[in-house]
Amino acid sequence: MKSDFKFKEYEIIKKEEINSDIVLFELKGKFNFSPGQFVQILLDHYGEATFAPCSDTNNKKTFQIAVRACGNVSKQIVKLLPGNKIKIRGPYGNGWPIAKLLGKNVLIIAGGMGLVPMRPLIIEMLRYKEEFKKINLVSAFKTDAYIIFKDDLQAWSKKINLDLYCENVGHTDIAKKGMITEPLKDLKLDKNTVVVICGPEVMLKFCNEILLKKGIKKENIYISFERRMECGIGLCQHCNIGKYLVCKDGPVFPLNKIEKELSK
């Protein structure tokens, strides 16, 4: 028997540069995943890194991966061109708990690249829009140059309530100026609203404070965590939050389950 580190090769068919840092790759082939799961990408000679597929889960011909150049591996991955191949293994982890969102008001909070694992979820939710009550999307970026999926956001804004904010607004008028917490403070939320959050670690604390003040239950706040992944299959022990392994038990945790472990 051979090891679990089996990769499958996919060919890049389209590359879109969102800005100097962020690149969106479209890969040929069918990739089965559920929204919120992650994959490991191996780049020969450089190493492995963790990414989230961000396209429609129903697309049987292609799928997309957004890469931000900020580490040794991702800085090299963004240099790849259409025609090159990418080695992928996965998907790993448990995705967003879509069953728990059915029939409820849903608030989606995405900070920066946190919008990436949210995109398949939003697409899925819009497909079955009548199954959910009201959908709110709050998203914020550093500057408007960092806004990803601009076309999608504009299309979504017609169907759901979208609050788009940037810390520094440049030349566009699609985003308002402010931190992600600004729109959260003003939002009127029903107490049974289910919240899904993905974003940088610092953002989580401030968002949770506001949400809890508004009376939202801890078990209704789902957070997708980012941790260092070396294996994705529960071997390497790098990604633990307290007693949970993000790769096997997560990456999505309800706040009541993970809250106590965050300080460990």
């Binding site: 580190f5 450089y46 492995e48 260092r228 294996c231 390497c236 790098h238 007693k243």
Partner: protein, 313 residues
């Protein structure tokens, strides 16, 4: 029940094992005991003393090619002391099938252990024996105990009578650590913040303990480039005391201080592993104590943690 065998019979048994298994055990090389491959019966050291590195270096070797982890190896580990037999059982429980060798393919032979001054395995519960064969010195001869179908098969082949039996537990005068108590005490970090800080202030964070511990198995991936243009993806031993162990993008370290990493080590061993698989990742072999350059003693640390919280009650 036991079978008395002579040295001659033992050699015959070992020859058989050597011929049918990849055999590893303690061997004295230039006066030093090391855990290596055994190729002749008289190379095996039956003294029951611990080797500085355990079976870990055979089961989860450093720099192993991630694509080449073979799980159907037939391995025999001979002359393991009690704590290592137990550690082997716990280690095999940690991994899902298909990642590490299966128990059915591993032959374990225990021997009467000879504790050194750092051993504190008597403070842990003695469980049902995990060994297949157990060897006990009895004057010039040996007593042999069997405990599995694999052992019976081997003994049948070598013409030695198989007598199933369990060893009588050694008399245990030491106070046993209450593992649930330890789990609760270590799990509550806020209550003992200054305690962990005090230990971390003395710890160099060198990771020697994680290297010698038979139950530390963190890995990190590294790519090795070859001259012919190809590369291999290897799993290297990692230490949770390493500074960038929990670093994510943009050099954001989730465990920036040594105390965070030290606490994580104890938390994994006594809380996370206990909850996940029912066993703490410590058998009291004392290797980390003898390896620590700062003279930190896990035995005393656990003891003082318990005592400190007793006072507060």
């Amino acid at each position: 029940m036991k079978t008395k065998i002579t040295t001659h019979q033992l050699n015959f048994l070992l020859e058989y094992i050597l011929a049918n298994f990849e055999t590893y055990g303690p061997r004295k090389i230039e006066g030093k005991l090391t855990f290596v491959k055994i190729d002749a019966p008289n190379n095996l050291d039956l003294s029951g003393r611990k080797t500085p590195l355990s079976f870990k270096k055979i089961l989860t070797p450093n720099k192993i090619d991630a694509q080449e982890i073979i799980t159907d190896r037939k391995i025999a580990f001979l002359a393991l002391p009690d704590c290592d037999v137990k550690a082997l059982e716990i280690l095999l429980n940690q991994f899902p099938e298909g990642v590490r060798p299966k128990k059915e393919n591993i032959l374990v032979m225990g021997v009467t252990c000879r504790p050194d001054k750092f051993c504190f395995c008597d403070k842990f519960d003695q469980k049902k024996p995990f060994w297949d064969l157990f060897l006990e010195e009895a004057g010039a001869d040996f007593n042999l105990y069997g405990n599995s179908i694999l052992a019976k098969k081997i003994l049948d082949k070598t013409g030695i009578k198989y007598s199933p039996g369990e060893l009588k537990n050694k008399k245990n005068d030491a106070e046993i650590f209450d593992q649930d108590e330890l789990k609760n005490l270590i799990g509550n970090r806020e209550k003992n913040l200054d305690f962990w800080q005090g230990i971390a202030d003395n710890c160099f964070g060198c990771g020697a303990c994680t290297t010698v511990c038979p139950l530390c198995f963190c890995t990190r991936q590294e790519i090795y480039n070859k001259l012919d243009g190809s590369c291999t993806q290897c799993l290297n031993w990692d230490s949770c005391f390493a500074k960038r162990f929990s670093e994510v993008q943009n050099h954001y370290d989730l465990r920036p201080e040594n105390v965070d990493r030290l606490y994580n080590w104890y938390h994994h061993k006594f809380v996370r592993a206990k909850e996940k698989n029912g066993d703490a990742l410590c058998t009291g072999c004392g290797r980390c104590i003898s390896a620590c350059p700062a003279n930190l003693n896990i035995n005393l640390i656990l003891k003082s943690l318990i005592e400190r919280n007793k006072d507060e009650k």
